[in-house]
């Protein structure tokens, strides 16, 4: 389960892409965890994530906050997606104060997350790096498409759908935000960053326009 790892792209866009998640350790602390998961989620919402949700109910694109919170069970891994280190720092400060005992993981540029932890009075416990993509790379979709679709680590966003939606933007049938919303809905875990996707779509359309 490395769904929030392996995000691709330039440092410039990755620096505006953070996912916060909470999880219980099965066999250790899952009993009585549902109210804690709800309290965690309220903290996430307080800091205005650009996407949020949980795999069973889906993301904010398809489910209300109450539907998402009502779906929580001991296996739930609720997520919030943020675009600034300050938001992450404030979330971590609130989570430290709440002392829920849930394991909290932040995905993002590691040096930035370390600063957020330090400012929140936390010391990172365990780290994970992506070591890249290997094997038959000629089978991969084009890199720019992958930067968008791979924000859903379960590959629920079809590269063909991304191409279609970008084509709609390119031909002025849709705004970038409308096209990105179609993609956001497909990511059930809600870890897709729609703001970053809009930036990437605009870049792609701009590149196409200038090439023409």
């Amino acid at each position: 389960m490395t769904h929030t790892l392996h995000r691709l792209g330039s440092l410039e866009t990755l620096e505006k892409d953070f996912v916060v998640m909470a999880m219980t350790a099965k066999g250790f602390n899952e009993e009585g965890s549902i109210p804690k998961l709800r309290e965690y989620f309220e903290i996430i919402l307080k800091h205005k994530p650009v996407n949020y949700g949980e795999v069973m109910a889906g993301s904010r694109s398809i489910a209300s906050v109450s539907q998402i919170m009502d779906s929580f069970n001991i296996s739930s891994v609720p997520h919030g997606v943020f675009t600034t280190p300050k938001q992450v720092e404030d979330v971590l400060k609130d989570l430290k104060k709440a002392d829920l005992g849930l394991s909290i993981v932040v995905s993002g540029v590691l040096s930035e997350v370390e600063k957020c932890c330090r400012n929140a009075g936390l010391r990172p416990h365990t780290l994970e790096h992506s070591l890249g993509i290997w094997g038959k790379k000629e089978k991969l979709p084009q890199t720019k498409i992958l930067e968008i679709t791979n924000m859903c680590g379960h590959s629920m966003i079809s590269p063909r759908l991304a191409e279609r939606e970008i084509g709609e933007v390119s031909s002025k049938k849709k705004k970038p935000e409308e096209a990105v919303e179609v993609l956001t809905r497909c990511c059930r875990c809600s870890i897709f960053n729609p703001e970053r996707a809009v930036v990437l779509v605009k870049e792609m359309v701009g590149e196409k326009s200038s090439a023409e």
């Binding site: 891994v77 993981v105 365990t126």
Partner: protein, 240 residues
């Protein structure tokens, strides 16, 4: 997944949604290529199909394995975890699964967006078995693999999934050799894999791991995952 032809209106709205390109128009109606379909459920859940033509069929062995590894909404009965792997580093502050002087490795075959057959998985698991790797018992994939040989149940070799993760813990001293083993198998695969490395945030382990990656010619990503250490009880404080 099947499409009920009597309900399909042939609007073609569904075709681009399939992550593996398994939906096409055959004649007047949409149809699913069953060899390519990985039973992930995107078409059923996300498409606003005007005829509500997508139908979950009851899957039997071995086809059911496609859904187990491709549909992230399923909770695995034995581990109580959704997704394709385990809790891995996400709960390491509580479980203590990865310790100082150790690294965790994950090889996610098929990711991103290519998909994999279990023949691909077996190529990698066989190489790992020869290298003496013991795979993580809690990972559902491990249950399908003979840990001594890396062989996978013959019934499922041709089944396809969006991705499947081989996970294990290795001593830091063995990281160089393991990485070389993994990369040497890469050219034999008909798919891609995403590789990851986990370690405790402890200076000696971190600096040694980075030194080995540089020697092997791997640049670790700038973005990654950080377990911030808020889980309780902390493994160091008495959790088993």
């Amino acid at each position: 997944m099947i499409i009920d032809e009597s309900k399909c209106v042939g609007c073609e709205a569904c075709i681009d949604y399939c992550p593996v390109g398994a939906i096409s128009i055959q004649g007047e109606w949409a149809a699913i290529d069953r060899d390519a379909c990985v039973e992930c459920g995107v078409c059923y859940r996300e498409i606003d199909c005007p005829g509500e033509a997508f139908v979950w069929e009851e899957l039997s062995w071995p086809r059911v394995i496609r859904r187990v590894f491709s549909d992230p909404t399923l909770i695995k009965k034995d581990t109580k975890v959704t997704g394709r792997g385990t809790e891995e580093m996400k709960t390491n502050d509580v479980t203590g699964r990865f310790k100082a002087g150790q690294v965790g490795l994950g090889i996610e075959l098929g990711r991103p967006s290519v998909g994999a057959s279990f023949r691909d998985v077996e190529k990698m698991s066989s190489v790992l078995a020869k290298a003496g790797v013991k795979l993580e018992e809690k990972n559902p994939l491990t249950k399908l693999i003979n840990q001594n040989t890396g062989e996978i149940d013959r019934d499922i070799l041709d089944e396809r999934v969006l991705s499947a993760i081989l996970e294990f813990v290795a001593p830091l001293d063995g990281l160089r050799g393991i990485l070389k083993t993994i990369l040497s198998a890469a050219d034999e695969l008909e798919t891609v894999f995403s590789l990851d490395l986990i370690y405790l945030n402890e200076e000696a382990t971190k600096s040694k791991a980075m030194e080995i990656l540089a020697e092997v010619g791997i640049s670790p990503s700038l973005a990654g995952k950080t377990n911030v250490g808020l889980g309780r009880p902390l493994a160091e404080e008495g959790a088993p």
